[in-house]
Symmetry: C2
Subunit: 147 residues, 2 copies
């Protein structure tokens, strides 16, 4: 959307690479991110694309909420927890992402307004906005993190 | 798309959380992913949502290509390098993602067909498919990774 209405004004560029496929070490070319990845369906230690995209959304959305808190003169208390599920699709596979958001220091209406603003400003929320598999919910408590 | 035509059949569930906002440690509740995040615009060590979503796409797409290589009886040689750019949007900010893909052991037509299949099967590529800010390109060589 922005790409159509604004000139592209790049403030930061970073590069990441995966050479190994599903098992091994991958990360950013600047060395700031280096992780072992593995299949979530095998008993091998490591993270995976599910956790990486979930944490990207959680961090981007919570950083954006932190800016909204500051704009409202509030201390930072928001927390974003994301559930990522994996399963078959036709063809291939699919993820489902549900972001649960707590903004405990404000009433529900204020929290809902802050979250709506954050969703409209957060780059990762925007990238995922076209998918029916992605949801964002304001909650008082997180659901049980069952496996 | 799949959500509309298939019953949801979850094979793996994971949870991630960001409590700190833009600066601090965040990760998965199972402990497999734990990283320090920081603002890409500040001289503070750490990764960020840009690198996390880029590596999620790079890993998912390359793991899917690895399966395609296996289906073709080929050894795994594909590499996915993703450039992530950050800049202003109206409102807020936006990312641009460009995935550069090398499949060096096959001719260009075969590589293009394998990549097209992988894009249709990879969950992260599907989540991002609705965004005009995301592109995937088959290349013989990666572009210079300038900052």
């Amino acid at each position: 959307m922005g790409a159509k209405t604004m000139a592209k004004d790049v403030k930061y560029t970073t590069w990441v690479e995966n050479e190994v496929g599903i098992q091994g070490v991958a990360g950013s070319l600047d060395g700031e991110l280096a992780v072992t990845v593995s299949s979530p369906l095998k008993p091998v230690a490591g993270t995976n694309p599910e956790q990486l995209i979930g944490l990207s959304l959680a961090t981007c959305l919570n950083a954006t909420l932190q800016a909204e808190e500051k704009r409202h003169g509030l201390l930072h208390e928001s927390v974003v927890r994301v559930k990522v599920e994996f399963g078959p699709d036709e063809p291939g596979y699919q993820f489902w992402l549900t972001a649960y958001v707590k903004i405990p220091q404000v009433d529900r209406a204020t929290g809902a307004a802050m979250l709506a603003t954050a969703e409209q400003r957060c780059p990762v929320a925007k990238l995922l906005a076209g998918s029916a598999n992605v949801q964002v919910q304001l909650v008082d408590e997180f659901p049980e993190a069952e496996a």
